[in-house]
Subunit: 278 residues, 3 copies
């Protein structure tokens, strides 16, 4: 690792950085990014790892934060660099070790992943040449509740069998959280080949806000997001009326005892609504 301070495209001085973390924590991190993008900027700061990325069509954003508490040792330095998230995701997935080292050499702009017998040296991209890191907007959304990631993924994959868009919403009067495919209704009084999925409020996890919500989303984006979420985890869904969706879930889980533990990080997906043109 080079510790000489160098200067990146912004004229910002930076050192190299070296961290060690659980392999599956980095895998979850990259999986979340790969739901939306092929390349992204990784920031190693004194508080941890951080990425903000937006998909090429500006429909979805993803933010991932992993606290420095997830780093087991060797923690040193700060760095900002662009990576090919697909390539690193595929290589990290194939490794079969508990931990790995991630090192950034600021002088030669190389990121190195090492674990057991394996070492991979990646020529990083200048962060200025990667799509801008977005600010994920704070929004006041009328519905917020928690569902299980498996239940969400199964429902979204079921809709993916027959539709390209769904509406998602909450009906306060009925106390129902729902998704439905209704694109085929336009210009046709009688809905045909519609699909619906409804959960009673009592079947949801923690319900924080329960105002009326009803927005349309692309099933392709939603499916890729749902598949990136680890199995059997709580996911917090926030939606509004013709507003974006926010999905948040914890990553970097550390077991501290039987059914006990805590998360070192969090993923936020942001998905723009599809505004109906009729």
């Amino acid at each position: 690792m080079s510790t000489d301070a160098t200067t990146d495209g912004d004229g910002e001085a930076q050192d190299g950085a070296t961290i060690r973390l659980a392999r599956h924590h980095l895998e979850e991190y990259l999986n979340a990014l790969n739901a939306l993008v092929d390349e992204a900027v990784i920031r190693i700061t004194d508080t941890g790892l951080e990425t903000r990325a937006v998909d090429p069509a500006n429909v979805g954003m993803v933010g991932v934060d992993l606290s420095n508490t997830a780093f087991t040792e060797n923690y040193a330095g700060e760095a900002t660099f662009g990576i090919n998230t697909r390539k690193l995701g595929a290589l990290v997935e194939r490794l079969d070790t508990a931990f790995l080292d991630l090192d950034y050499d600021a002088e030669f702009r190389k990121a190195t992943i090492g674990c057991g017998p394996y070492t991979y040296t990646h020529a990083t991209t200048n962060p200025d040449h990667v799509r801008n890191e977005p600010d994920i907007p704070d929004m006041d959304l009328s519905f917020k509740a928690t569902v299980n990631s498996d239940q969400l993924r199964e429902a979204v994959e079921w809709f993916d069998e027959f539709t390209t868009h769904i509406r998602m919403g909450y009906a306060p009067d009925d106390g129902e959280f729902w998704m439905k495919a209704d694109e085929r209704m336009s210009g046709n009084k009688i809905g045909t080949d519609d699909g619906e999925w409804r959960l009673d409020r009592s079947e949801l996890g923690y319900v924080d806000r329960c105002g009326r919500a009803d927005s349309q989303f692309s099933i392709d984006f939603l499916r890729d997001m749902a598949r990136a979420i680890p199995e059997d985890r709580p996911v917090t869904i926030r939606i509004g009326e013709e507003f974006p969706m926010k999905l948040t879930y914890e990553v970097g889980w550390e077991e501290t005892g039987a059914n006990e533990g805590f998360a070192h990080g969090e993923v936020t997906f942001f998905l723009a609504p599809r505004i109906q043109s009729d």
Copy 2:
């Protein structure tokens, strides 16, 4: 559900209908149809569910009957409607519940499948616009015996590795039930790359008729049929000399105790022989 009597294309009055049944019973029902067709007519009568369908090339027919004893409650009404069997098959397969409700709304010609949080509303087809429902002929076939569905499927998939047609038969003198690939023999005294599969009469299940049989069939049709049959079930095979084949097996199995139970329904596959042109 609409209970207003309406009139279908035949001028035949019909009500709507609502039934509840085990999800895997409907899955087996649709799997059998999907071995041969993409769309079919479902008849809900006072005795149960019933479908007869023929493949577009008129080579295979399938008949499925599921008794009303398979319906657990809510049973009401009669109905006849055409469905897209592939689409409903794929959606029913993804559901993860024990039971589902099938409802037909005669007024709007909609079939609705509901279970747990899921509801799917299918715009049915006018039965008059689906290929005619065939009568599966009764035939006097010289051989009739039972084999295990796994043994049949493995043998058929093995032949599918290297041939497009097989002959199937029974040799009373040798007491052997056999399949063989012999299409490559034509015009060649010495058979090359032939495959054979032989079971001694003692290795068959119940043997009801054991006259000489020898007929040629398409391996593609036979493979699709064999794959639709649930695992580890007895299948009754009936064949003759240059005659069609009949395969029958039970569906809608209900467990009533340890290794005890009974079937609510039956599938019949009918496969025309390929007549040799030499």
Copy 3:
């Protein structure tokens, strides 16, 4: 089986032959051949089964020997014939029996594989029309050690994710056996997207020779070879400096007790180095 002596293309007289062996022993035999070729010559001699084959590009060779101690009964005769290794490999893999019979009929040049209800009769090729059986050269290679087949396969598949060639070697000073992808370094002082895999001498199995070694190989060939090796077996690797590689492993394993047994045969892969043109 014909026992009349006949004459093959070489004017060499031969009888037919009949052997019985464990199905998975023949499967391992054919898997090794299918790593490199589509067709090959099988020799049944009084010492066992034997094949030598070279791939169409003359980059890799494979030799397989299975001793007659692997034959359980019926052993009789000698024969030499060409087979389609892919076709027989696919058919033998689908069979689900412990043993099978391999019979060669010299008069009609037919090889027959039989087991349980299945019989497959293969029209063999004249051995003179199959690519010449190579002599696998004896070579004095500077490094020879044993690794686990799973460890080798996982590493080779990892490299296959991002490169087409690797260098493999041993560094006596560091006591390290290594593979690395370095094709992208040419004309570029700083290696980018390089991958390395290193095992300390202490992590290897038996180390027989530990001289300096460093040679380049095609990842495609190496991957196909590594995938043909049964799981969790020791593989002996021999390499030199810009020299071919030899991989050898045992096949035809027979269990004689808890964690005890012996091998009836051996596979040798020979892989030519890719000479760097810079």
